[in-house]
Subunit: 215 residues, 4 copies
Amino acid sequence: MSKNHKRSCPVGRWQRRKEARPGEIIDAALELFCEKGFAGTRMDDVARHAGVTKGTVYLYFENKEALFYALVNEMVVPQVERAENMIANYTGSAASLIEILIKQWHENIIKTKLSGIPKLIISESGNFPELAKFYIDNVIQRGRRMMARVIEKGIERGEFIKCDPDYVSRVILSSMVFTAVWERSLASLDDETYDVEKFFDTQFEIMLSGLKKTK
Amino acid sequence: MSKNHKRSCPVGRWQRRKEARPGEIIDAALELFCEKGFAGTRMDDVARHAGVTKGTVYLYFENKEALFYALVNEMVVPQVERAENMIANYTGSAASLIEILIKQWHENIIKTKLSGIPKLIISESGNFPELAKFYIDNVIQRGRRMMARVIEKGIERGEFIKCDPDYVSRVILSSMVFTAVWERSLASLDDETYDVEKFFDTQFEIMLSGLKKTK
Amino acid sequence: MSKNHKRSCPVGRWQRRKEARPGEIIDAALELFCEKGFAGTRMDDVARHAGVTKGTVYLYFENKEALFYALVNEMVVPQVERAENMIANYTGSAASLIEILIKQWHENIIKTKLSGIPKLIISESGNFPELAKFYIDNVIQRGRRMMARVIEKGIERGEFIKCDPDYVSRVILSSMVFTAVWERSLASLDDETYDVEKFFDTQFEIMLSGLKKTK
Amino acid sequence: MSKNHKRSCPVGRWQRRKEARPGEIIDAALELFCEKGFAGTRMDDVARHAGVTKGTVYLYFENKEALFYALVNEMVVPQVERAENMIANYTGSAASLIEILIKQWHENIIKTKLSGIPKLIISESGNFPELAKFYIDNVIQRGRRMMARVIEKGIERGEFIKCDPDYVSRVILSSMVFTAVWERSLASLDDETYDVEKFFDTQFEIMLSGLKKTK
DNA sequence: GATGAATGAGTGTTCATTCAT
DNA sequence: GATGAATGAACACTCATTCAT
């Protein structure tokens, strides 16, 4: 009847949260790995950030590395799929699709904790090449192909000038991805602040006016 | 990762001890820090890579952190100065200057070990905010201003359309810097290889045709 | 291995809690302690082997150590009593009594899980001196006296030559006990297999012909 | 000139003992592993017993298990070889050779730290089957064959009655080995003390008079 | 009674740093 | 100057034990 009947049992040490735990731990790990790096993050810290003790982390993840892998798996693939679906169903112009993709990148990645992933993968690529490879194959390459297909469509539709869709895709994505990396690393230390939205608008305008056919 | 990075004396951090130039140590450290991260690199490895023993590293650098600071200081400032001098003396068009800057970035940074620096700073920014701050102030901001001045000149000279030079500068630099980061992290793991030169050409063309005034 | 074995309350150590008989737990513990040692055995394993969960073990035994003590107490004393009764009622020759004792050792100890006890006690004597002491006083010494009495009787009856019954007892028992230890430790790893029965026959024959008076 | 010129440098933290270290560590490990078991022994304890700190142990042994393996390797093989050489060169009677072997077992094994090895191997056989196998193949089996060959020779020379040398060998060795195990485990806890020498004398006499041919 | 999620003390192992040689 | 044996603090991971359900 009352909305808080769950709280009738006092919040204590023995709360069971089997369902929620892994997600909480992964969130904590993402934040900390991204901030301090994999090696620089203590399992104890991850645990404390997730509101549990060290031992509990090991109930859900075999070891630190498994936690890292789970984190990337969990966080990354759904995003790619969402974007691919969006593109598949889109019927408007290539230019407007690019605009939407950039906007969504801003809303769903840059503004969320997900923006930590690219920085994390890049930072740890030397120590976890296999994981980096997974990310390249399942995120980067798919992203690249998505954007390339959009460009291609724009060329086919007569919207865009002739160009190599793969390279144009890389150029557009590079500053999008860099922005995520930047926001999660140096942005907060830079006293010359900027407006991410305006950044993306600028990028969009220049790129598009460079790509658009002038009739 | 020790939590007292910040407590180590900030004075004298930037000097190497002695006259001798343990450039090999710095080179080894750059390579290894970039590959494995600061925490993941053992002083022993740095030493061995430099052809000396562990103790010797400590003759020249007070500790691991000092080595990191020295590395960044040593490697970074000369580049910026070189670029600034180049711009100051340049008399041609803004467009051609941008082309030259991109080419030099490719030749002098991307193709050399120096490209490891941005990846390293980004990766370790959470653990070494002071160092990151130094890098931002002495490299990033100066680079941004350089590029912005070029754009500004282009607008003044009637070459370019009206735009916000600061944001355009950020857009151009973002994919340039990202390319360095990419080459030092994921590029070697990506089976879809690409030609960096063509990447920069594509970027240059699109950006420029987006910026150029059409008479 | 905690250093405070000795501090755990010595009273009540020998009792199982509750009426129910968690014989399966003790069986599981015997098997696992014997195989992996006390420290090397996880309570979780004991529980799983006994078909219950970890918590349940603690319903019946105060802690791991208490389980060990209960195990030894449970398993050991009945055997000694059975043997003592057998001897008390025996009326035949000393030689045939020895033969019977060896046979029974083979049947009731060597061939059963009980053979694990000596190996276990020996292995853990350093960590559980009190328990080892209990075993010595209640099993070893009583066994030694039993065998010594048989020898003595043999001497008295004129069957055996004059000898020190205590030492002869020790010699006979040493290979009997060793066989139990061997079977529970190295036997299965030795590719030079042997027949335990023939081993005991050989021992019996040699010892007896060495002991018997030649008229 | 003075005998203690080595002591002229004060005993301190920085003494280098590269040559001596491994042996000291192995000695400490043997004692502690035997007393507390492998799992129950802390590397810290081993180190302290050897007069060093934990880190130093890892300079010489890759890990705890490697230390265990090294210990067995180091300690065991030389003994077997010594015994085999002795037998090969022996020209006297089989009976006297057995007597010598028992005496040497007493002097060189039982009375020394080496007597800890059998107990240790037996205790840890479940956790280190490979090491146990090594011990069986290189020590036990060779010991068994040695003793069997002596018995065989005794039979050939007409000293001993017909019997199966392999089984007789096993019977004799079982109480010899057991004595080592006993001395390193329960002996010190047993208030019924005994004289090991007399034990072996008793064994020798009974066995021999059981084996000897009566003309 | 039984469960199993959670705890936290304990231990193996690593590695930056020191300093006698 | 250079070495490398030694140190010891730090951290990943384990597991006996607890207790809310």
